[in-house]
Amino acid sequence: MSVHIRVNPITCEAHGLCAELLPERIHLDDWGYPIVDGRPVPRELMAHARRAAEACPTLALLLEREPR
């Protein structure tokens, strides 16, 4: 099973915590919104990815099984 990260751009408010917690996969654009690396999340990063998703104040960071 491969897991991919996706952002709900409508609920995202550019808090930026995800980029701090998962810099291996997420960096911020010039306005503070996350740019996500679309490759599957490797097993060793899964715990970080989950933490990043849980830390998002608007729950805009999604972990999904299929790439969209």
Partner: protein
């Protein structure tokens, strides 16, 4: 040789006898086209598949596949599907869908009734832009629906709903949200409309022109449809032609027809031609004139047909100023929901304006390219992607002009009156 209305290679097809300003009545329509034979639902889907019909709203998705997705969800989640006729043509340089609704509404309603039968829907909702731009279409469709109710029930109830005349309204999820009583702005997907749409039912959203073709495919058969056009892009298509051309307006052509034939060659090549509207791509004039209006031919020039809007930019216009205006318009049409779209498009529009005004530094074009790459794919809908497509082709085709403005400031043509329309659609067809 047969040259009657059923002759497969004769044009126009959709616009046959759609002359003048009037609306074709039901009686005229039936006399011209004949009654619709009632077909079995499966046969309708198969005929549309065999015809190779693709959606004419811009995305060119195979219509039969979309219908099958709705049918699959009907059995999976239950619930009778709904058909939405997408007439929310918010693109300032496209008027062909309203043209069809105004002149030949019964052809569109035939198509809607057929796809409703095909997917097992009993309810059809026709959406038309509100305000002045959509008024004639609203009236024509409203009358057509009344005529049909009196004379020949379709088997599906049909209602006409006006929706905001904005660029993004025609995006499927926006249309569905509007019909569910919400704002006409896109939603985060999934669910997609075919999964859960109007009233949470599987919903087929189909473009006006697409449905008009369906009405003829079911009458004359897939082979008739394919007798015109290319293998990958069969049939005829409606193009809305504007700008520096001999004959602006809505024209029905065989797909694959060279743009030169559509634009008129008497006045020579335009500086460039925008193909596919404001989500489309510029093609430089000399190349465009030789290129066919179909997706395979246009792919070589980095463009696609989109919804068939074709705009020629004259040699006397300033490409940089025109591009900056359109980018400003597109930034203003963001629905304000997604950060990368809101901030990214605003920054891109401001930077393009600064280049046109001569107040940008020499890195401005690189900055535009970088921002474009940053925001593509990062909205809930494809609005940023479309704007970025327009931007990239502008930077490619008008590279010399952009460079010149960065170095030397405004050109003489910058003072010319604007030529690309933004906001409410000009009287292209009137």
């Amino acid at each position: 040789m047969n040259s009657g209305p059923n002759d497969a290679t004769r044009l126009p097809r959709l616009l046959l006898q759609a002359r003048g300003e009037g609306t074709m009545t039901l009686a005229e329509h039936l006399q011209l086209r004949g009654e619709l034979a009632t077909s079995d639902p499966h046969a309708i889907v198969e005929a549309i598949a065999d015809a190779g019909l693709r959606g004419r709203g811009g995305a060119a998705f195979p219509t039969a596949e979309k219908m099958r997705a709705v049918i699959a969800n009907r059995s999976r989640v239950g619930g009778r599907p709904i058909v939405v006729v997408n007439g929310a043509e918010g693109e300032p340089v496209s008027v062909k869908d309203r043209f069809l609704l105004e002149r030949v509404p019964h052809l569109v309603l035939d198509g809607a009734a057929l796809v409703a039968r095909g997917v097992g829907a009993r309810r059809v909702i026709v959406t038309v832009p509100d305000g002045d731009d959509g008024r004639r279409a609203q009236r024509a469709v409203g009358q057509a629906v009344t005529e049909r109710a009196q004379h020949r029930p379709d088997g599906a109830s049909v209602e006409v709903v006006s929706v905001p005349d904005r660029f993004v309204t025609g995006e499927e999820s926006a249309l569905v949200q509007a019909l569910n009583g919400g704002p006409a702005v896109p939603t985060f997907i999934p669910p997609r409309p075919f999964e859960r749409g109007v009233e949470r039912r599987p919903t087929l959203v189909s473009n006006v022109e697409t449905l008009a073709h369906v009405a003829l495919i079911i009458r004359h058969g897939p082979a008739w449809f394919r007798a015109l056009g290319t293998a990958g892009h069969p049939g005829s298509l409606l193009a809305t032609v504007s700008g520096a051309v001999e004959r602006p307006g809505v024209w029905e052509i065989e797909s694959g027809t060279p743009l030169g034939a559509l634009l008129g060659e008497r006045s020579g090549s335009p500086r460039a031609v925008l193909v596919g509207g404001y989500f489309g791509s510029w093609v430089s004039g000399d190349i465009a004139m030789e290129t066919g209006l179909d997706n395979e031919s246009l792919a070589h020039a980095g463009a696609s047909v989109g919804a068939g809007a074709v705009v020629a930019l004259g040699a006397d216009a300033c490409s940089v100023s025109e591009v900056a205006r359109v980018l400003g318009y597109l930034a203003g049409e963001s629905t304000g929901q997604c950060g990368p779209c809101v901030h990214g498009l605003a920054a891109i529009a401001a930077k393009a304006r600064a280049i046109a005004d001569g107040s940008a530094d020499l890195h401005a074009v690189n900055q535009l390219t970088a921002w474009g790459a940053d925001i593509a794919g990062r909205g809930a809908c494809r609005h940023p992607d479309g704007a970025v497509r327009f931007l990239s082709s502008s930077l490619r085709v008008f590279a010399a002009e952009f460079d010149d403005h960065m170095r030397h400031g405004p050109c003489d043509a910058c003072l010319a009156p604007p030529s690309l329309p933004i906001g409410p659609t000009p009287a292209l067809t009137r």
